[in-house]
Amino acid sequence: MDAVNEITIGMADLKVGKAPQVLSTILGSCIGLCLYSPRHQTGGLLHLMMPFAGESVHQLNYKKAKYADTGVAELIHVLKKTCGVATPEIVAKMFGGAKVLKNVERNIGGENAEVVRSLLKEHGIVLKAVKVGGENGYRIKFHLDTGKVTCQIFGGQPEEF
């Protein structure tokens, strides 16, 4: 893969791009949500950390992409504003949400995945592929020319979704 075409997305961030770009990230308990418009060959990747923003919305440097409830809406908004993508054209794929640390009681990854599912339903967006859970990290590469996502769970072979 041409490194120029690969865009990396850190935690609590989102980025959009067009074919032939590839959006990539590495996840643990965070969720990587890929939204794609096949007609525009355009998509965005949201790397969210927590289910709900709560009181954080009042913070000065509040990051919408950190939370599912604000991040999903923001990604849809950015796709519409910058690429002219209408919500009914969007399809979704979701990855991550692992429980990497065994001594942490809260299953934040599972909570994140549940909230994203219900938010997508509210927006009427079809969830075409899901690979969540487990105890290991995920490396995902979102190919904007095809909309396909290569997902490699740590210790396993890459799979295409």
Partner: protein
């Protein structure tokens, strides 16, 4: 002004504890460990993790330790998975190349190193600053470097978008083994430190 003082105090704490950890590390592996990097900085969580995904795109063995007490910190020590094999041979006094894959010996080695390094840090806090802390048993994780780092900063990043990090990189002389160590102040640690400086 206060933030600058806290930053400087943390730099001093970091410098002393990393120096101590490096001495302990060298003694343990019986080979010199050189400190290649030592810095205290404020990092945006998105930028820091994005950079790490590019620079450290390999798998690591990491030891997570919570330093609990008067000034809680989170501690992380990690080494590239390939290098952890050579490190295991060094610690177990085996011929180089005997350890060929990740197994219980490698896991125990990284766990022990995490324990020893975290204890070295708490000793500096106790002896030089009269701050009482003790390390929890290390949890060892084998995964992508970015996954390990992401889980490490998760708790702090839940309430903040910028985190204060103390980072150090050791190089085992003659073997080109590179390891990273991080310290992350938790909760009211910065406030407590600020109080100590104010009282001094």
């Amino acid at each position: 002004m206060e933030a600058k003082k806290v930053h400087r105090a943390l730099q001093l704490v970091a410098s002393l504890s990393i120096d101590k950890a490096s001495q302990v590390f060298s003694k343990m592996i019986k080979v010199g460990a050189k400190i290649e990097l030592e810095k205290v900085y404020v990092a945006d969580i998105s930028r820091a993790t994005e950079e790490l995904m590019v620079t450290d795109d390999f798998d690591v063995i990491g030891a997570f330790v919570d330093l609990v007490g008067d000034m809680p910190f989170k501690f992380l020590f990690y080494v590239a998975a390939d290098d952890s094999l050579a490190l295991t041979d060094l610690i177990l006094h085996r011929e180089p190349g005997v350890t060929k894959k990740f197994d219980l010996y490698v896991s125990s080695t990284v766990q022990e190193l995490g324990n020893v390094l975290a204890s070295a840090v708490t000793n500096v806090f106790a002896s030089d600053f009269q701050i009482q802390m003790k390390p929890t048993p290390p949890q060892v994780v084998h995964d992508f470097a970015s996954t390990v780092f992401g889980e490490y900063i998760m708790e702090a990043a839940a309430d903040q978008n910028e985190i204060l990090m103390i980072e150090s990189m050791f190089k085992v002389v003659r073997m080109d083994i590179k390891c990273r160590m991080f310290l992350l102040p938790k909760g009211d640690t910065q406030k407590t430190l600020s109080g100590i400086i104010g009282a001094a």
